[in-house]
Amino acid sequence: MPAELRYLLRLAGLLASGVVLWGGTVSWGGTGALAVDASHEQAFRQAVRPFLTQYCLGCHNDKQRKGELSLERYQDSSMALKERVLWEKVLENVQDGIMPPDDKPQPKTEEVASLRAWIEAHLSLPDANGHRNPGRVTIRRLNRTEYNNTIRDLFGINFRPADDFPSDDVGYGFDNIGDVLSLSPLLLEKYLAAAESVAAKGLAKDLEEDGPQTSTFDGRKLKSTLKGSGRSVVSLNSTGEAYVEFDFPKDGEYRVRIKAFGEQAGDEPARMTLRIGKNDEKTFDVTAEGDKPGTYETTVEAKEGERRVAAAFINDFYDPKNKDENRRDRNLIIMSLTIQGPLDRDGQVDVGKQRRILLAEPGKGGPQEAARKIFSLLARRAYRRPVTMAEVNRLVGFVDLALKQGESFEKGVELAVQAMLLSPHFLFRVELDGARSGSSSIEAIDDHQLACRLSYFLWSSMPDDELYRHASEGTLRKGSMLEQQARRMLADAKSQALVENFAGQWLQLRNLQLATPDRRLFRSFGGDLRTAMQRETEMFFAYIKNEDRSVLDFIDSDYTFLNERLAQHYGIKNVKGDEFRIVPLVDYQRGGILTQASVLTITSNPTRTSPVKRGKWILEQILGTPPPPPPPNAGELGEDEQAVLSGSLRQRMEQHRANATCASCHSRMDPLGFGLENYDATGAWRTSDGKFPIDASGELPDGNSFKGPAELKKVLLGKKDQFARAFTEKMLTYALGRGIEYYDRHAVDEIAAALDKDEYKFSRLIVEIVASEPFQYRRGRDINPGGKP
């Protein structure tokens, strides 16, 4: 249902129940000021102001400023409109029944509804052109992950220079927020060093043809068991081997590629066996002949250490009487042997498409012409947009500089690559305003910018050739192309970036590395269990993404991913070995992320569970309603010896909640956390905590109650709309690289509604975000309606 329609229905519903209704509109003009319609004002006076007076101003007045909030000055609607964020909070508190406090007079349901209708109406109104404020994303510096991935995709080298950069700061829960990503001289120093080493490595790779993990041995480097080695090829004229003693850097999978051809004779082709040490790995029919040598390739498992890698000729044949003198002698000619690896076992990302820098060599046109060819392409890819000839020529200037210094063409190219990698056009994701951009306009970002938003959202990296081509040809927004591209990219292995970066931060999985459960209390906790916990959640998220499952699986699922170690931890039988696999869940103990040991561990203290942290985690990450911070001097649980003896953690927490100032938030947090008390601080199942039996029941302020985690999850599933919105907000924050503001409410509503209509499929969320106004548009530079600067 379109949001407008739902909005109208809601108003109609209110009308039927006798709630005040108005037909006003609000719009904002070029000045950034809000023009408030008279009836909107009237609604404020009739519904909102009386509400405030009756239920809020008793405490939240200028004098008392309880909770450091006064609502006294909001005398009319234009005044109120200036602070939209505040009203969102007011609504949240009133709606959730937190305010007014229980011991104060309570508003009637329809009074709350009027307040809500008024607030929501002005939080999401479009401008005269029908556009809602899409926000304006601050220019984004590549974060560490994005830098690494972009270098990988730009040059086809996988060496992660950004691992040595200082951490990127986090805002709104993510480390890709333009406003928060700063650039200190220390970081610039690192950029300079990285540019130098990337350029050097990139060129070295070009010169050696392949990446650093690849070793190629031609005839000169290969030995032969027969006579006559040391030429550019090894000719095996009779049974024998061309071989090399290769030092495998570690246990793992390696790709071996042999370039060879046969001098054919007899009724079968030359046969070649690849041997590692004494093992025959694979035998190939070498049908290729001298005019067109063949490449024979296979992957092998090899142990660390020096081993002989050999291409053996195994079917020597000699028939001197054959009439055709070219068919008398069967020989095998080995041109080269290449060993690549160790291969990444998860090998998701295929860097295989080798990216060259030296795309042209100085020829007739001289070095400048060659450099121009190189940088016309390279700069366009590095800057992720078309480049001007002037930009290219400036880069070519470095070739001149090097030549003047008496250095090589390659040195000049290297310097230009360094400059390119240090340029703000590479380091920042720049989105320029269109030429006609006025101060009050809202305009679509251009297609290259859109392609970048898409690729950094789904891949944490630059657009690939296909995406770039659609941007260049102007076909990206044609028909359903954008959705097609999003789906294609989601299916690509590079979308694993969503697991590492989005899920790692949304679920706060990255904090698992810092968790320090007390080893005396949790003896089984060790490095391998920690790794297993992380793996479960990552594979779970990846599965939902890859199989396009419902995002409600995050709340509850009848499957998870386990290896023997983790299954043991969970008390699940018949899972053997280190390999992770999907395991159907048969009982109520596990299912969904809330019952995964990773999440349960990071929301615990080192020595005990923390229902508060767990409750807070659910409110923040699942329901999207984080509690406000505790007031200073909030007081703590009594944990002296007597208190500990006198009751369970739960009982002591309940005493804490008897304190009214604590209750308003803890009545939201604690019950959710209690529902997970059956899991200890490392996520293992338990039925008692010391001498106290576990009581995993709880009642939420909205009246929902449950006994145990399974019922808690049912309650949460009952709030699937709320979860869908919360999840959408997180994903949208990550996609945009900015915090979600009140004006995004409409987009969030629409995306969440679409999700509901499409069985909550993961891909639906992605596709709708990509299609949303905040993703495709941006606000003119000087508009600042009521929001922050």
Binding site: E68, R136, T138, I139, P166, S167, D169, V170, G171, G173, D175, G178, D179, V180, S182, L183, S184, P185, L186, L188, E189, L192, A195, G397, F398, Q405, L415, Q418, A419, L422, S423, P424, H425, L427, F428, V430, L432, D433, Q505, R510, N511, T516, D518, R519, N605, P606, T607, P628, P629, P630, P631, N633, E636, L637, E639, D640, E641, R781, K788, P789
Partner: protein
């Protein structure tokens, strides 16, 4: 090849024993004055520890020169005569002042800035320049590195930080300007490479000069790019481009200023492998690198965050399995307080290691510690009350004769911590009129009040 005593748990085990660092084989950073007297430069460092202290075990009972070291400060016995224990200083800007919760983020960001961090999750980060960067701006050009920023914890890499404050506040004590944290190194290997990289590259002077020439032309190139870009973007973006430009200019200035000879690491020292697993080893390795940087006059200004405020690290190796932050909300529980004191004492033990090392290095008639001012402390006093007055602060070292150490000085509660920073800037030859909420230079450091 020489080995710096780094992968050396054996040595580190002997806590309290002074280990003589190999001397840097480079020029002594001294200057001969007109009067023919040798002068050594003054250095300053700031060490931050989180979550306040168990103040009962921190504050000495007596004042003046004759004071006993309480439990937490006991490990400093060997350098007691080199310490000023400063009681009563206050970080007012770490208080809510209307901003509600978030004391840890505030304490961290306000400690060296004396400015109220703007409460934001990211959109408009704003605090103020920190004392070390105020010094770097003024005297940073005198050394190869204007300043050195060290830490142990990376910033938070996910989730939310303290109560509506961006994680930038909680992971940065050093701020170049109101919007830009200076960034810090947590990996000893990278610090080493930064300090001594040039020397290990083994390039000739000519090759280095040519490399620097190329670097300068690259920096020119990107400055032009940025200047053009700057003219085409809106106000918020411009701030980011300006940040970039400022950093480019600083590096360029470094390249075009004095040509520094590469400094070799001392004989008997190799590059650290990375981040030591053991927390104490990690801290000490960072201390070693700081000492080397001071000794070789590679920089005179350093900050070192031993942990970010709000840290919930546990210390099982000293018998404290609970998280530090969790414990700091002790609610008056004696057991928890004594565990906090243990953690506090552990940190002070590492501080003592640093001071003893500085003291073991002779410089002229004195030691490196005599020519340094090492401030140590937290932006929170008691972790349970979250109060920001009566802060636990130590100033160690003689400051080239400008500080009279060996005393416990009590100031009126409410005296701005920034007054101390201001007076340290004076002693570095980097005076400013005001820094954050400072009201005047702190009296009494060189004389009895």
């Amino acid at each position: 090849m020489s080995r710096f005593p780094i992968s050396r748990r054996t040595v580190l085990k002997g806590i309290g024993t002074t280990l003589a660092l190999p001397l840097l084989e480079c020029m002594a950073p001294s200057q001969v004055t007109a009067a023919g007297k040798q002068q050594y430069p003054n250095r300053m460092a700031f060490l931050y520890v989180p979550n306040g202290k168990n103040m009962a075990d921190w504050t000495p009972k007596q004042e003046g020169t004759d004071f006993e070291l309480p439990l937490i400060l006991e490990p400093l016995a060997k350098v007691q005569k080199d310490l000023c224990i400063l009681t009563g200083l206050t970080a007012d800007k770490a208080r809510p002042n209307g901003d509600g919760g978030g004391d840890h983020a505030r304490a961290n960001a306000a400690f060296l800035t004396g400015c109220q961090p703007r409460k934001t999750d990211g959109a408009d980060i704003n605090v103020g320049q920190s004392v070390d960067q105020a010094a770097a701006e003024r005297i940073g050009h005198l050394t190869r590195f204007p300043s050195l920023e060290l830490g142990i914890d990376r910033g938070n890499t996910s989730g939310n930080c303290d109560s509506g404050y961006s994680c930038a506040y909680q992971s940065s004590i050093s701020w170049r300007g109101p919007h830009t944290p200076t960034g810090k190194e947590v990996n000893p290997r990278l610090v080493f490479e930064r300090l001594f990289g040039d020397a290990s590259a083994g390039q000739s002077g000519d090759a280095r000069a040519r490399r620097d020439m190329y670097r300068r032309s690259i920096l020119d190139f990107v400055q032009e790019d940025a200047a053009q870009l700057r003219s085409r973007v809106g106000a918020t973006d411009r701030r980011k481009v300006d940040e970039y430009l400022t950093s480019v200019r600083e590096i360029e200035l470094r390249l075009s200023g004095k040509q520094w000879e590469p400094i070799s690491p001392p004989t008997g020292m190799t590059k650290p492998d990375g981040v030591p697993k053991d927390y104490a080893d990690h801290i000490r390795l960072m201390c070693d690198l700081m000492v080397l940087a001071f000794q070789g006059d590679l920089t005179r200004i350093c900050t070192f965050a031993i942990a970010n405020d709000g840290s919930n690290r546990s210390y099982p190796f000293i018998g404290v399995s609970e998280g530090h932050h969790e414990l700091s909300h002790h609610g008056g529980n004696k057991d928890k307080q004594s565990k906090i004191a243990k953690i506090n004492r552990f940190h002070v033990t590492q501080f003592a290691y640093l001071l003893e090392k500085l003291k073991s290095i002779p410089e002229g008639n004195g030691t490196l510690l005599d020519h340094a001012m090492i401030a140590y402390g937290s932006g929170i006093s008691d972790g349970d009350r979250h109060n920001h007055d009566d802060l636990p602060i130590v100033l160690a070292g003689g400051g080239c004769g400008t500080v009279k150490p060996g005393r416990h000085i009590r100031y009126r509660i409410g005296t701005p911590l920034n007054n101390l920073w201001l007076s340290m800037l004076d002693r570095m030859g980097a005076s400013v009129d005001r820094l954050g909420d400072s009201t005047a230079s702190l009296k009494g450091l060189d004389e009895d009040v």
